[in-house]
Structures are given as structure tokens and as C-alpha cells.
């Protein structure tokens, strides 16, 4: 029996590492070939940085990068403020209909992206006259951003000791002061972690941007998509590598912050 269990756990480990390999295989390929000198064949033919140099001269890529940063920054700010408010409110809410409200905040995460994308486009065209371009993309990204920040901050609030706030209130602090001096200092790693997640999700979003953008406005994923549609070039590999690097770094920071909060909460 013991032998049986050991064999099973070996298989389990093998299957898991194969799954991880599957998940990270495209990352490895993109990174490796971004340094390969050959333009057409996918054979390794010497190390080069020329594709990265070419990117730095590509005006279209640079302006798209600027657009992406503006959109992701804006969506992150909206998401951080509204998502934190939602998480704080949901924690205290004791009225009927709380479940429905909670569902509203989580729904943007599970809804098929394309449904939300097409809905937002039609909404901006027919109902709410938002200029299609950076404003519409920023607003659209804030929808899933708010949802993700709500989830992340709610998770961090689970071990939160409400008595600290009550003590401050009993000592005469105004609600706003309680928030600034007690609540926020305790939950800020969660807020920042959620905000960084919202930033990455916006920075990397393709489907929703594709639908709600206007003529002449492109974010980085939109430029990549049109490059990919025209053909495979090593320049895309270099751009993809840089984007993955930035995303990984921000996500790692976000995750570290989210985890940090747990230990901080335990120490308090």
C-alpha cells in the first residue's frame, strides 16, 4: 500500500511539472527567439540585440506604450478607490440584498470577456457618449479592475480586527480619521496589491480594448495583434519578452504585497 502511494505521488509530481512546463513553454520560446539573429527561420543563429534596438526606433510601438500606460494608470486609480470602498462596505453591510450586491462586484470576473466588450462598445455608442479611444478604454478597464480590487481587498479584510476601528471611534475619531489612521495603514498592502493587479490586467488586456477603441488609437496589445496578423517577425518576440518581463515584475510585487498583509495582520 505504501509503495502504491509513493508511486502515485511520483506520478502526481511528474504530471504537475509537465503542466507547469506547458504553461511556461511559450514564455521560454519567446524569450529565447527574441535574441536570435535569424529573421526568417526559427533556428538559433547567434545572439543579437537588434530586435530590441529596432523596437526603440519604432514610433508606433512607443506611442502605443504611452497609451497603454495612460489607460492602465487611469483604470488602476479608479479601480483602487472604488474597489477598496466596495470591499470595506461589503464587510460591514448587514442588509438583505448584500448577496446580490456582492455578486455584482464579482460578476465582471466570470463574464465572458467578449460579452462585456461588445456591451461596452454598444453602451458607449448608443447610450453614454464617451469618445472612443483612451477615455472609453480606461472606463472599460475599470469595470474588471474594480472587481479584482474588491476581491483582493476583501480577502485581506478577512482577518481584520474591527475592534481596532471601534476603539478609535470610541476615542472620538471621526469616520474619515478612523479610515486614514487605522483602517488604511492596516490594509494598504492589499490595496496596493490589488491596484497593481488592476494595472497589469489593463496593461495586458486585448479583447476589451479591441472592441471599445476608436480609429487611430492603439494600446500595446492592439499593436501586437496587428503585427501578428501581418506575420511572424522577431521584433514581436522582443516586444513580447519586454511586456512579459514588466508584467511578471508587477505581478510578483502585487503578490508579495498581498502575502505581506497576511503576516502583518497576524502580528497585530
Amino acid at each position: 500500500m505504501a509503495l502504491d502511494a509513493r508511486a502515485a505521488s511520483r506520478w502526481l509530481r511528474l504530471a504537475s511539472w509537465l503542466a507547469f512546463g506547458f504553461l511556461y513553454l511559450p514564455v521560454a520560446v519567446l524569450v529565447i527567439f527574441s535574441f536570435s539573429a535569424s529573421r526568417y527561420s526559427m533556428v538559433w543563429s547567434g545572439f543579437t540585440l537588434q530586435w530590441y534596438a529596432a523596437l526603440a526606433d519604432n514610433a508606433r510601438v512607443l506611442s502605443a506604450l504611452m497609451n497603454s500606460l495612460i489607460v492602465a494608470g487611469g483604470a488602476m486609480l479608479i479601480s483602487a478607490v472604488l474597489g477598496t470602498a466596495a470591499a470595506l462596505g461589503l464587510r460591514r453591510a448587514r442588509f438583505s440584498g448584500r448577496g446580490v450586491l456582492a455578486a455584482l462586484f464579482y460578476a465582471p470576473v466570470v463574464i465572458p470577456e467578449i460579452v462585456l466588450a461588445i456591451g461596452l462598445l454598444m453602451f458607449f455608442v448608443l447610450v453614454m457618449p464617451v469618445p472612443l479611444g483612451l477615455p472609453s478604454i480606461t472606463l472599460a478597464h475599470s469595470v474588471f479592475g474594480v472587481a479584482y480590487v474588491t476581491i483582493v481587498v476583501s480577502a485581506r479584510l478577512e482577518g481584520f480586527d474591527a475592534q481596532l476601528e471601534e476603539a478609535a471611534a470610541d476615542l472620538g475619531a471621526t469616520p474619515w480619521r478612523v479610515f486614514l489612521r487605522v483602517t488604511l495603514p492596516l490594509i494598504w498592502p492589499g490595496v496596493l496589491g490589488g491596484a497593481l493587479l488592476a494595472f497589469t490586467l489593463s496593461f495586458d488586456d486585448f479583447v476589451i480594448s479591441y472592441f471599445v477603441t476608436g480609429p487611430g488609437t492603439a494600446t500595446l496589445p492592439l499593436v501586437i495583434y496587428s503585427m501578428v496578423k501581418r506575420g511572424v517577425t522577431p521584433e514581436i518576440n522582443a516586444l513580447a519578452t519586454l511586456i512579459l518581463l514588466v508584467s511578471f515584475a508587477i505581478l510578483a510585487l502585487s503578490i508579495w504585497l498581498q502575502g505581506r498583509n497576511i503576516t502583518a495582520g497576524e502580528k497585530v
Binding site: 502504491d4 506520478w11 502526481l12 504537475s16 503542466a19 507547469f20 504553461l23 511556461y24 511559450p26 514564455v27 520560446v29 519567446l30 527567439f33 527561420s41 526559427m42 479608479i78 472604488l82 470602498a85 466596495a86 462596505g89 461589503l90 460591514r92 453591510a93 442588509f95 450586491l101 456582492a102 465582471p108 466570470v110 463574464i111 465572458p112 470577456e113 467578449i114 462585456l116 461588445i118 456591451g119 454598444m122 447610450v127 453614454m128 475599470s142 474594480v146 474588491t150 471611534a169 469616520p175 493587479l197 497589469t200 490586467l201 495586458d204 486585448f206 472592441f211 501586437i224 501578428v228 511572424v232 514581436i236 513580447a240 511586456i243 508584467s247 511578471f248 505581478l251 503578490i255 502575502g259
Partner: protein
């Protein structure tokens, strides 16, 4: 806490107003618009009279073909995600807590970063004379013929499994991590073999995670747009591509696209009810 019950309670309502209003406007609003458009008569792009014919036209043979293909590809992707995701989720859940967090986030990272770029990575690998092809040829497989996976349904399934695997692992992991593993030991001590433990104990206890994971992957895969667009050929159009074309390509037919979108939403809702019946879909899990 009860002494302050009313005051924090009302403050809670106040602080919830801005985010709730925001999502009501920008989330429920768009969904209502799609629902409304789906009821309109066909036109170029839409005739503003209610007739509901778009839903009827979804049953046209051309659209039924797309629907059927979407369903079968999504089912296959879901099954493969489960087969691949379950051992992974179980493995991660049995690591020491420190590694658990790291491994779990390593699963989510590909989903949260630029999936478009990663699918492009698969294109690079799968195309004729690409990395895979050369590897296979080098190992003596393929018989000198260039690889023809790219632009086939097989490539679409691979891409779907890749993109949506984290959607499967997330709920599975949440469900397995909560498991009391002593139950498995008890079953074994009572003489159950490995397969019996799996089928009679482990799978039933983690059924909520399985149901939620399958539902998420299935519905998301139905609405996939990038994967069939980049990895599939002309004959790989799925429901998501249909929505995109009816809205953005000529001839436009908004009610048709909206009806296809509503179909996805309906499947999601029905599926969620089913999943919550199967094992209580935990709020926020």
C-alpha cells in the same frame, strides 16, 4: 460590536454607493443594451423594432454549425483542462504553505499577463518549420513533412486549454485545499485501493471545485475570440468570433451578434445554478 451596529451599518451603505453605481452604469448598463439589441429586427446594422427573430436565426444551419463547433471544442477543452488541472491543483495543495502560495500564483500568472502574446508564442512553436516541427523532425518523427497543426481545430483546443487552465485550477485548488486529508488516510486504512480513494472519496468531496472549474472553462471557451482567430483556420469560427463579426464586419447584424452573446450569458447563468446545486458555489471563491 452591536452597540455600534447601526452607525457602521449606515456608513457601509454610504461607502458602497459609488462603486455600486459605477458597476451598475458600466456593467449592468452594457448588458441591458446587449439584451435590448438582441430583441431587435435585423437591419444594417439594426432595425429598432422588437421582433425577437435573431434568436430564431441562431437556429439557421450556418449558425447551428458554429454553435455545434463551439460546444464541441469547448467541451473537449474543458475535459482536457480537468485532466491536466486536477493533478496540478492537488499537487499544489499538498505542498508546504510557503511553496503553495508561490506555485499557485505561478499558475495564475499566465492568465493575468498578456495571454495574446503567449498565444503568439504557440503560433511560433506550431507553425510549419517552427520550433515543434524541428524538434519532431530532429527526433525522427514527421517523415520530413512539415507540421500542419497550426490553423486546425487541434491547435484551437490546445490554445483553449492553455488559456483557460488557470480558470480550472483556481476553484479546484480552493476546493482541494479545504479538504481534510485524514479522510483519505482513513479510507486507505480501511483497505480502499488508490483508485477507490480517488473515485469514492476525493472526487466526491471536491465536486464543488470540479463543477465550478468546468463551468468557468466551458463558458469562457465558448466565448473565446483570440484563440480561434489566431490558431484556428477559416473553419474554426466559434461563438466569440461570430459575435465579433456580426458587430464589426460587413454585413453587420447587431441583433444576431447580441443574441449569440445572450446565449453565452444564459449558459453561464444556468451553469452557475447547476454548479451551486452540485456543491454550493462559494461567494467570491
Amino acid at each position: 460590536m452591536s452597540g455600534h451596529g447601526s452607525k457602521p451599518g449606515t456608513r457601509a451603505v454610504g461607502v458602497l454607493v459609488p462603486p455600486a453605481a459605477w458597476l451598475t452604469l458600466l456593467f449592468l448598463g452594457p448588458l441591458c443594451v446587449v439584451a435590448l439589441i438582441s430583441l431587435m429586427a435585423p437591419g444594417a446594422p439594426v432595425e429598432w423594432t422588437i421582433d425577437g427573430s435573431a434568436y430564431q436565426r441562431l437556429l439557421d444551419p450556418i449558425y447551428l454549425g458554429v454553435l455545434w463547433r463551439s460546444l464541441s471544442l469547448a467541451v473537449m477543452a474543458t475535459v482536457l483542462c480537468l485532466v491536466l488541472g486536477y493533478p496540478l491543483a492537488y499537487y499544489i495543495a499538498r505542498r508546504p504553505p510557503r511553496f503553495r502560495r508561490v506555485l499557485f500564483f505561478l499558475v495564475l500568472v499566465p492568465l493575468w499577463t498578456n495571454s495574446l502574446v503567449l498565444i503568439y508564442g504557440w503560433m511560433v512553436m506550431l507553425r510549419p518549420n517552427g520550433a515543434f516541427d524541428q524538434l519532431l523532425q530532429g527526433l525522427g518523427f514527421g517523415g520530413g513533412e512539415p507540421l500542419t497543426i497550426l490553423y486546425t481545430p487541434a491547435a484551437v483546443i490546445l490554445g483553449l486549454v492553455y488559456w483557460y487552465l488557470p480558470f480550472m485550477v483556481y476553484p479546484l485548488y480552493a476546493s482541494i485545499e479545504k479538504l481534510d486529508f485524514r479522510l483519505l488516510e482513513a479510507a486507505r486504512d480501511l483497505g480502499a485501493g488508490g483508485l477507490a480513494v480517488l473515485v469514492r472519496v476525493l472526487l466526491p468531496l471536491t465536486l464543488p471545485g470540479i463543477a465550478t472549474g468546468c463551468l468557468l472553462v466551458f463558458v469562457e471557451a465558448l466565448g473565446a475570440f483570440v484563440v480561434p482567430d489566431l490558431l484556428g483556420g477559416a473553419k474554426s469560427m466559434m461563438l466569440g468570433n461570430l459575435v465579433q463579426q456580426r458587430f464589426l464586419s460587413v454585413p453587420q447584424d447587431w441583433p444576431m451578434g447580441a443574441a449569440a452573446a445572450m446565449l453565452m450569458l444564459a449558459l453561464l447563468l444556468v451553469g452557475m445554478l447547476w454548479a451551486s446545486r452540485v456543491g454550493g458555489l462559494r461567494r467570491g471563491a
